[in-house]
């Protein structure tokens, strides 16, 4: 009886997972199919198993065009921004979560409002500021700028995670003579590791996918892959095949990054996992 109940549950889980996996993968599979077709084939009706592979879609953007450089820029900007955001966010979230600061809830809430602001209208002031400071078309400029939406996000997400770490743990460490930094490094960071990793993944993804700011604030040197993708859309036709191919290539670093970071969530998961 018990086994069959467990078996039933497992069956239910598999059905759910397979359904979700299909729904998730289908658009990506379709992107791959598009990337394997020439423009004419794309507009000649649905073809689920193409027999030919139009490899020019992959070779041209990276070998003849400058998409390799765009990809490198995106990697540098996303990774740099993630490092900056995580360091700042861990520090400040720790303070928000553990110490009484006058007006701390107001400061905390104000930080968050920065993510609520509609981005479009800030293009004008940012353009002016960046031109003045010489940050336009630089990777460091984007790394700093992306903090405006990533830092509030990271702080908010980490706050929830840190609040759920029992206070007794770090109070005990402090009584044992740890400094404020010691508690942060030895107690909080190890305990909040899954949260930090998830925040890092998502921060990285947001920076990796950002388009609006990058499109206006970069020109040649610091252009990112998302601005490169939009170049395929022209008045005389969108280059769907190459766009899909570049999108597929873009998946690779993201998958690698997510894969590495997820390893740490798994460790976390087994630590706090619900026992059956």
């Amino acid at each position: 009886m018990k086994i069959s109940k467990k078996g039933l549950r497992l069956f239910f889980i598999y059905v759910l997972c397979i359904l979700i996996a299909i729904a998730t993968l289908f658009p990506i599979y379709w992107t791959f199919i598009i990337s394997a077709q020439s423009k004419l084939e794309i507009f000649s009706g649905p073809n689920f198993f193409p027999s030919t592979f139009h490899s020019e879609n992959y070779t041209r953007p990276f070998l003849q065009d400058v998409y390799g450089r765009y990809l490198a820029n995106s990697l540098i900007v996303a990774t740099g921004n993630t490092l900056l955001v995580i360091v700042l966010a861990v520090m400040s979230t720790y303070a928000f979560s553990r110490f009484q600061i006058p007006g701390s809830s107001n400061i905390f809430f104000w930080t968050i409002t920065n993510r609520m602001a509609p981005a479009a209208v800030f293009i004008v002031p940012f353009f002016l500021i960046f031109s003045r400071l010489g940050l336009r078309d630089t990777r460091i400029g984007l790394i700093i700028l992306y903090c405006i939406f990533n830092l509030p996000f990271a702080i908010w997400l980490l706050k929830g995670m840190m609040d759920s770490i029992p206070k007794e743990l770090d109070e005990a460490a402090m009584i044992d003579g740890c400094s404020i930094w010691g508690v942060l490094v030895r107690v909080i960071i190890p305990l909040a590791k899954p949260g930090i990793m998830v925040t890092a993944i998502l921060t990285w993804i947001f920076a990796w996918n950002e388009y609006l700011f990058a499109s206006i604030l970069t020109n040649v040197k610091a252009r990112t892959i998302t601005t490169g993708l939009i170049e395929f859309v022209t008045v005389i036709g969108t280059n769907w095949g190459e766009m899909a191919a570049v999108s597929m290539v873009c998946l690779i670093p993201a998958v690698v990054f997510i894969g590495i970071a997820q390893q740490h969530i798994i460790t976390g998961l087994t630590f706090g996992a619900v026992k059956d």
């Binding site: 020439s38 004419l40 000649s44 003849q64 020109n219 040649v220 022209t234 008045v235 036709g237």
Partner: protein, 475 residues
Amino acid sequence: MRRRLLTVVFVLCFLLVPTMVFAQVANPDWWKKAAEPYKGVVIHGVSESTPPSKAIAEIAVPAFEELTGIKVELETTSWDEMYNKEIQDMQAGAGIYDFVYLEQDAVYSYMEQDWLTDLTPFVDNADLTEPDFDLPDFTSFIDYFKGKDGELYGIPFEAFLKTYIYRTDLFNDSDIQAAFKEKYGYDLAVPTTWEQYEDIAKFFTEYGKEKGIELYGHVAQAKTHPCLAYELCETIWPPWGVYNWGINLENMRTSVENGGTLNSDTAKEALGWYVDMLQYAPPGVRTYTWDEAAAVFGTGIIAQGFLYMENLGWLAHDPDRSVVIGKVAIDIPPAKPGVMEAAEAGEGYIGYYDGGAWGIPYCSKNKEAAWLFIQWCTRKEWQPEFAELATTVVRKSAFEDPIIDELNVAMGGYYTVMQEKGHLFAGCPPLPMQTPLNELYLQWISRAVAGEVSPEECLDNLAKEADELMEELGY
């Protein structure tokens, strides 16, 4: 293996092309001397990623850099983004760009704001202008880039029509011709009236259904997207006799009571007709922009329609994207009674003459070097090759070149139409506020296309709001 070999050959061809095309420079010594003071300067430009700009970026730029020692950084990007970048730059006076793409319809906004450099002093300066530059050789399209007192703000490098395109293989098929004659009582030919256009559209769509083949008699760019409003203003209304976006250019008002024609009966009828005609286009027509409209035409399921002739280059040559190579021809659009006469007399127009030019922002820091580069792109001796790469002609002398005759055949008589009937077409009227206006037009027209409002309601409301917008903007 064979594929790899092909790729190698392909890459090699690309490397060889620049040297081949630029083997002939009329006055290399002049260029070297003129560029001497600007050696090592880096100039920045922005343009849309269309074939002419791509040809310039891939071929003209390297050759120019090698000959003159001036370095050129040309960004090619999407249409939307290009506008934003140019406007941000010039509005802030940031001086990022030394030369910018001026689309014909946008140039009035830039002139209104005094954002462009008058090029006349450069043209008159013999140290900076090549002896063979020959300004009068440009087609009349250059006139759109002149200010009120004849100042010159842009040198065109791209010009094309949006006009009628049809499939010769279908129109000349004797079975089809017989079937058409039987049904409508007259011969199948290029339509000269809108009624004929409708008959043909209906005929081919029904013919496709009967024969069980995918074939439609009409195509449009009816997605909720700026292109929809442009299609009405550029392609549908003018040959119905509603010019200048329905705007009375004297007082910049659109509604009938203020002397405009936007909510006139003709405009409403035309819009109603446009919406009704979508039934003869492929089922997805309401998701098409200019992009898909041409792409679908390339797959050979459209018998006739209106397209931007920028697309003709690949429609006529690129087997990767087109199955209609050698099967298309170009003609002028049909017109309502009286419109053709008005167009001949210069009082109206039947279609859209679009294109772009290079201009120099007022805040550029390297105007002289930018001017040299602009001349380089529009040099007389390069134009025939450029026409082949980019299917665009901006100089009268280029029409004389044998290459154009060859292209003309492949492109279904496009250059003949352009040369002989080009004067019947017109660019965008001088509307410095055309971008916000287009956005407003789009909001209302898209609702009519979606059936949310009737064409009458749509245009009455639109005219009212357009008048308000004009007033708000100080016109």
